[in-house]
Structure formats: structure tokens, C-alpha cells
């Protein structure tokens, strides 16, 4: 198990070396996907290997000649990696207009470090009328054709169904791991869970599944300290990973993360894709699903705060730690209303900003100390 965890941590702390190694071994073209809503299954079924774009392992330097400092860590980091040549490991990149920053990313990549394949798709913001499903399907069909052209391989319905089944299996295993953590708080450290989920975004699912099976078998044998910990859940953190040291701090201050709905976490595997019917439609339906409420979608009658209140109650959590990515417009616009809704339900909450560069951890520690005193 320790070996598995080491493998996972090595990959997430240095995706460049890790991806290059399995790419060389598997001889597959690798396509980086903008986080959150792109159907990786489509890329996989085209005979390509999708990975989810990640936040780099070093501070942004050269990238700031192309992107202002007041953009989110992921945007700045992807631009920085691109202009430093670190994304050469990717044969292709797919983006879409997830937010204003994502909208302009392909322009910069195309000018400064164009990969062999650079595709932009359109994904609707609203989700509730028939026109949105039709538009999404039209774009998934266009993406399918574009991927087929790049890979030189026709994507059959069966191939797509198999990819969907493979991805569902991986999602199911991640859910099992999450169930283990809920049953025994502290069994899996927050940063371990983050690394486990992210590693699945950076390697073939075929190879991630055995790692998950190993962890599910071995982790319950771990000894967990019997000290009483405050039960908290993590919320938010769109697109990118929080820093490990931030998660460590939460635990060091006497809290156990029992569940999360962050993107590199519970959101990533929350829904399966239906394995019956038309597979493209099934992929579209997964996106159009309104649970968990997502601030990047347009869905005014569906209050994220209501969802959180119910979920926190189900988890018997004592508090919510919101991870707000610095300069993330969708979350910034939503957060005050979520905070208010939690406060109205008497659910303690603390917000930590997630930044790419090192932040002042001692200030965060002080806030967490105050928070843990409140919830104990």
C-alpha cells in the first residue's frame, strides 16, 4: 500500500515525468483536458489518452509575461508551463469557455506553444431547456469528429460504451474509498485522498483501477489514532487542487475531513454515465445533471447552499471548510450566498483562499484554530 501511495504522490507532484514515462511505455498520444466538464471518455474512445490539466509544481515566472497576476492559479500555471515548454508532454489540449479566463487560454497557448492538436468546444452554461441538450450534443459530435481526425481512428459506439464502462468502474472505486473515509474518519488523510483522485486524472484509468483496488483492500488495515477529531467537510475548490500544506493544517488543528465536494474530489466522480442508450446522449445527460449544484452552470433555482445544508446534515459534519480558489469568478459570485445559507442553518463555516503560490500558513492556522474551537 505504501508503494501505491508513493507512486500516486510521485505522479501528482511531478506529472511531467510521470506522464512521459507511461506515454513512452503505452505509445499513446496524450490530450490535456480543461477541468470540470469535458467528457474524458470521448478522448479515450478515440484511442487517445486524456489527462486533466493540472497546476504546476513551481511558482509562475515566465508565464506572467502573458497572463496577469490577477488570474487564477490554474490559468497562470498552465500558461507558465506552456511557455516554459513543460507541456510538450501533451500532444493535444482541449479547452472550453468554462469561465472568462478559460475563454482566452487557447489564444495564448496557440501563439506561444501550440500543441499538435488544439481544440475548443462550446459547452452551454444553462442546463434546463431542450435547446441546451441539443447544443451540447452537437458540440460533442463535433469534438468526436475532431478527435477521430487527430487520432486517425474511427470511434465506434461500442468503443465509447467501453470507455464509459471503464470510467464508471473507476468512479465506483473512488466512491468506495470515500465510503471508507466516512466510516473511519482519519483513515485516509485529506492530502492522500486529493492525490488519489488527482492521480486518476493524470494516468490511464486502466492503470489507476488496480491502484484503487489495492488501496481499498489495504487501507482498512491502517491503525487510526483514537483521538477525538472534529468532523468537517470540504466545499468548493473548482478546477484545481488546493495545496497539500493547507489540507495538512486542517488536520493538524484537530479536524478530520470526512467528505468533500471539491472538483479534485467528490465532484469528479459523483455521477456515473448511463451505460444504456446512446452513449453521447448519456455523456450529455451527465453534464446536464443539476446535482451537485455547480457555480459554473446557470441554474438560478437550484441553491448550492441548500444542497450543502442537506449534505452536511447527512454526513453529521460539525463544520464546512470552504476552499475558494483565488480569482475564481463563478465561486466568488456565489460564495457570499452559500455562506449566508450555512449561517442561517447554524452550520459553522470557514473560508480559506486557495492560491498557487505559498501563502502565509500561520494566518490560516490562526483562523483554523478559532474555527475548531467554535465547532468542538
Amino acid at each position: 500500500m505504501e508503494q501505491t501511495l508513493n507512486q500516486i504522490f510521485n505522479l501528482v507532484t511531478d506529472p511531467y515525468t510521470g506522464i512521459a514515462a507511461w506515454k513512452e511505455r503505452l505509445q499513446k498520444k496524450v490530450v490535456g483536458c480543461m477541468p470540470m466538464h469535458l467528457p474524458e471518455e470521448l478522448v479515450h474512445a478515440a484511442g487517445l489518452q486524456p489527462v486533466v490539466l493540472w497546476r504546476s509544481n513551481e511558482p509562475v515566472t515566465l508565464g506572467h509575461a502573458h497572463v496577469y497576476t490577477f488570474n487564477c492559479g490554474l490559468t497562470r500555471s498552465v500558461v507558465d508551463d506552456a511557455v516554459k515548454g513543460k507541456l510538450a508532454v501533451l500532444d493535444g489540449i482541449i479547452t472550453y469557455d468554462l469561465c472568462l479566463q478559460a475563454r482566452e487560454l487557447p489564444f495564448i497557448i496557440n501563439r506561444n506553444a501550440p500543441p499538435a492538436y488544439l481544440e475548443t468546444v462550446y459547452i452551454p452554461g444553462p442546463v434546463t431547456a431542450p435547446v441546451y441538450k441539443d447544443f451540447l450534443l452537437e458540440n460533442f459530435r463535433n469534438l468526436k469528429a475532431s478527435l477521430e481526425k487527430f487520432s486517425g481512428q474511427t470511434m465506434t459506439q461500442d468503443a465509447l460504451r467501453q470507455s464509459i464502462a471503464l470510467y464508471n468502474r473507476q468512479r465506483g472505486l473512488l466512491r468506495q474509498l470515500y465510503a471508507l473515509r466516512r466510516q473511519t474518519p482519519g483513515l485516509i488523510r485529506a492530502k492522500e485522498m486529493l492525490a488519489i483522485v488527482q492521480s486518476g486524472m493524470l494516468m490511464p484509468k486502466e492503470e489507476h483501477i488496480p491502484l484503487l483496488e489495492n488501496l481499498i483492500a489495504e487501507l482498512p488495515k491502517r491503525t487510526v489514532s483514537s483521538g477525538k477529531k472534529a468532523r468537517v467537510v470540504l466545499s468548493g475548490c473548482m478546477c484545481q487542487t488546493p495545496r497539500f500544506d493547507l489540507l495538512d493544517l486542517i488536520e493538524e488543528e484537530g479536524m478530520a475531513v470526512i467528505d468533500d465536494e471539491i472538483y479534485v474530489g467528490g465532484r469528479y466522480f459523483f455521477h456515473d454515465v448511463a451505460e444504456t442508450g446512446d452513449p453521447l446522449e448519456a455523456l450529455a445527460e451527465r453534464y446536464l445533471n443539476r446535482t451537485i449544484p455547480c457555480p459554473t452552470k446557470v441554474d438560478w433555482t437550484n441553491h448550492w447552499g441548500d444542497y450543502l445544508v442537506d449534505w452536511v446534515g447527512q454526513q453529521k459534519a460539525q463544520g464546512v471548510v470552504t476552499l475558494l480558489v483565488k480569482f475564481c469568478p463563478p465561486h466568488l459570485c456565489y460564495y457570499p450566498d452559500v455562506k449566508k445559507r450555512l449561517a442561517n442553518a447554524n452550520i459553522p463555516e470557514v473560508m480559506l483562499e486557495v492560491e498557487h503560490e505559498v501563502v502565509s500558513l500561520e494566518q490560516v492556522r490562526t483562523r483554523l484554530q478559532a474555527f475548531v474551537e467554535e465547532i468542538r
Binding site: A65, H66, V67, Y68, F70, N71, T75, D97, L98, C99, L100, Q101, R103, E104, L105, P106, F107, I108, R111, N112, T120, Y122, P124, G125, P126, A129, P130, V131, Y132, D134, F135, E138, P295, T296, V298, D299, W300, T301, H303, L324, K326, F327, P329, P330, L332, C333, Y334, Y335, P336, D337, K339, K340
Partner: protein
């Protein structure tokens, strides 16, 4: 004595020649925003429009706000700070779009009955229309709904990345208008959508915009008889004041005044236009005075900008007999929703350098608006490489004074104009 002499020397050497026609705008925009409040008091339904959906409200005779127009108005009337403070008191974070925070401040003022100056306050909407040209538009309308629970509808107007996508996006937008937004509005009003009224509005808009385009031609002259700021003030008649017959008269009068200036050899900058600059990004509504004075102190005239050029730049494509098609075609085929994206902005700016005889570029990067900011540095590099004109980035905000740092702006402008002066000298 010495101090008095220094003071005299500090006085700006240059001044703007103000256009008389522009004086018409102030009372018109005052009347528009006042009209919303009056309508509400008289029991009429009023709408808020986050993004450019107000034409369909106008077609149904619903007095309607337009979010960016309101922010500009509020900025110009110095009404922004207390509203932003009201939003911050509600937990809104400074990094969020200042237009969003401004509207959240209005909602807080409505909910808490805060003492905000009446002329910059909005009435509570009865309906919210949202068009996601910028993703924030719908974040704003979602947030408004969470607070006020008024009927809300939102559509997508995703800017295109490629010309080959225009038709697909036009079809998508048209379907949303006819299947989502208009039926919703019909339900709200309890009557059929008035396509004839929309056609009438577009016919007036077309005429006004065509004359406006003739006014744009004057920017090509050296010296230019007007400035981008003059044009910025004149946007409302072809946007949220669209369809009013007086808007046609406005541009006719403006055109005549510009022609008169040319005939008399009068430029916008007195005594002479030293530099002609391209302005990228939003018009700095709250800081128009200080920024224009800073540029003026170098004898610089902002001539052209991608954002101010967004408003129905191709009225020849408007066919009032096909109102819905015309609107969506304006957004895509005629570049209204795409001109500012870097893919399309770069060729536009390249074309502008020679057409408008530009000496330099100013990229106005708004701290809380990330729309179209990315790519500005790449554009400076590309234009400088190809045409040898320098550019600089000014970091500030559309309306939030907390991000307006005079020192930073002064230093960067000083550097820009020194470079421009040196390059001009080399060319002579």
C-alpha cells in the same frame, strides 16, 4: 513668488475642445434611469438586463435597465463607492467583478433600505433577463434571483473562437431567443411578443448606427476632431437608449459638428494632437476624468478601442424585417460579441494601426474583470514587432476606486510617452 511660478508651470499645456452635441447625453441618461424609478412608482413592471437582452424588453414596452450601462452611469455620477461598500458588508469579496458587487450593493440597499442617493439607485426589478455574453452575466442574474426571487431567464451568447462557428452559434442563440427567452417574456406579460415593435426599434437603431459609422470616419483624420472618450459618452444612443428617434438626430448633429471642426481646422486636443493611441479594454467609467487629464497632459488622444467599437459596428447587416435573425447575426456574423476576443481583436488592432495612424497602445486591464484581459500582453508584443509602436498595461478597474493607483498609472504612462516620443523622433 517661486511657488506661484511653479504652480503656473504645472498647469496643463493642453486642453480638450469639448463637443457641444455631447451635452445632450447627460439629461438623456438621467431621464432613462429616472424613468425606471418613475415607472416603478407608477406601478409598471420594470426589468433588469444582465447582458444585452434589453431590446426584447423594450419590444414589450417594459422599462429596462442594462447592467454595464448602469455601472457606467453610476460611475459617472460618483455613486459607486457606497454601493460597493454595501456589497462588501454582505461578504462580497474584492476579487469579484465590480459590476457584480455594484448590483449586489443595490440589492443590499433595497433589502436594508440603505440611504443611497436616489439618482444612482435602481428600483427592484419585476423580471430579470440575462444573456451570458460574459459568464459573469449569469452569475449576476443567478445571485439576483437568490435574493429577490423575481422571474428570471437566462440565455447563452457564447463568443466564438472561430469564424467557422458563427452559424452554429447563431442557430443556438436564435433557438434560445425563440424557445426560451421570448416565450418566458410572453408568459410574464400575458401577451404575444411584439415583433413589429422590435422591428421599429431596429430600424431606428440601424439609421442611428449608420450615421455613427460616418462619425467614426472622422477618427481617421489627423488631427482627429473628437476623442474615444467623446465616443464612449455617445454609446448609449446606439445601445440602451436604442430605438428613440432622437438618437438619429443626435448622430446627425454630432456629424455636422465634427465636419464643422474639420472645416475650421479644429482638433479635439488643443493646441495640437501630439500622440494618437489605441485604448484596449473597458472605458474607465469611474476614472474618465483623471485618466483623460493624464493623457491630455502629453497631448495624447485616444482614437480607437476594441470594446467601444463593439456596439452594432455593422448596421448595414440589420434588417428590421428579420428582427431576431438580425440581432443574432449582429452578435456573430457582424462581430458584436467577438470583436474583443483576442483571436479577432488582433487583426482589428493591426488594421487600426495604419488606418488611424496610431503611435502607441494602452491596455486597460481591469482587475476584477477577466474578460478579454488575457492576450493583451501578447497583442502588445505582436503589434510592436510588426509596426514598431509601443504599448503599456495600466492595471485598474472599470469602477472600483480601490484598484485605481495613480502612481502606477503615471509611471507607466510616462514610460510609454517617452518611448513614443523617441520613436517618433527616429521616424522624422
Amino acid at each position: 513668488m517661486e511657488m506661484e511660478r511653479e504652480k503656473r508651470e504645472e498647469k496643463p499645456k493642453y486642453k480638450f475642445n469639448r463637443l457641444e452635441t455631447l451635452k445632450l447625453i447627460g439629461p438623456w441618461v438621467d431621464a432613462h434611469w429616472d424613468g425606471l424609478r418613475v415607472a416603478k412608482k407608477e406601478g409598471k413592471k420594470v426589468a433588469w438586463s444582465m447582458g444585452p437582452l434589453f431590446p426584447i424588453a423594450y419590444a414589450m414596452d417594459i422599462p429596462c435597465h442594462f447592467h454595464a450601462g448602469y455601472a457606467a452611469y453610476c460611475g459617472g455620477r460618483k455613486g459607486v463607492p457606497p454601493l460597493l461598500e454595501a456589497a462588501e458588508a454582505e461578504g462580497h469579496i474584492l476579487d469579484a467583478c465590480s459590476y457584480h458587487r455594484l448590483h449586489m450593493g443595490v440589492i443590499s440597499a433595497i433589502e436594508k433600505k440603505l440611504p443611497i442617493r436616489e439618482e444612482v439607485m435602481l428600483p427592484t426589478p419585476d423580471i430579470v433577463l440575462s444573456a451570458r455574453l460574459c459568464t459573469e452575466h449569469t452569475h449576476q442574474s443567478d445571485a439576483i434571483y437568490r435574493h429577490l426571487k423575481v422571474p428570471t431567464i437566462a440565455i447563452d451568447i457564447i463568443p466564438a473562437h472561430r469564424e467557422s462557428d458563427f452559424k452554429m452559434l447563431e442557430n443556438y442563440t436564435k433557438r434560445q431567443l425563440t424557445e426560451v427567452a421570448i416565450p418566458f417574456l410572453e408568459d410574464f406579460c400575458g401577451r404575444k411578443f411584439d415583433y413589429d415593435r422590435l422591428s421599429e426599434l431596429l430600424a431606428v437603431l440601424k439609421k442611428a448606427s449608420e450615421i455613427r459609422n460616418e462619425c467614426w470616419k472622422f477618427f481617421e483624420l489627423v488631427p482627429s476632431p473628437w476623442t474615444l472618450w467623446d465616443w464612449g459618452v455617445s454609446i448609449a444612443p446606439v445601445f440602451y437608449l436604442m430605438g428613440q428617434p432622437k438618437t438619429v438626430d443626435y448622430f446627425q448633429q454630432l456629424k455636422a459638428e465634427l465636419q464643422q471642426r474639420v472645416d475650421q481646422g479644429i482638433g479635439a486636443v488643443h493646441p495640437q494632437e501630439n500622440f494618437r493611441v489605441y485604448w484596449d479594454g473597458w472605458v474607465p467609467w469611474s476614472f474618465l476624468g483623471p485618466i483623460s487629464r493624464k493623457l491630455l497632459s502629453f497631448g495624447a488622444n485616444p482614437i480607437v478601442g476594441k470594446y467601444p467599437w463593439e456596439f452594432f459596428p455593422h448596421p448595414e447587416g440589420i434588417d428590421p424585417n428579420r428582427p431576431i435573425d438580425s440581432i443574432v447575426e449582429q452578435w456573430y456574423s457582424y462581430m458584436m460579441s467577438t470583436r474583443s476576443s483576442p483571436e479577432f481583436a488582433l487583426p482589428f488592432i493591426e488594421e487600426s494601426v495604419e488606418k488611424y495612424h496610431l503611435d502607441g497602445m494602452i491596455m486597460f486591464a481591469s482587475r476584477t474583470c477577466r474578460l478579454w484581459n488575457l492576450g493583451e500582453q501578447d497583442i502588445i508584443d505582436e503589434i510592436e514587432r510588426k509596426y514598431g509602436i509601443p504599448g503599456v498595461v495600466l492595471e485598474a478597474d472599470m469602477i472600483d476606486p480601490k484598484f485605481f493607483s495613480e502612481g502606477q498609472i503615471d509611471t507607466r504612462l510616462q514610460a510609454l510617452f517617452e518611448m513614443m516620443e523617441a520613436r517618433k523622433r527616429r521616424r522624422r
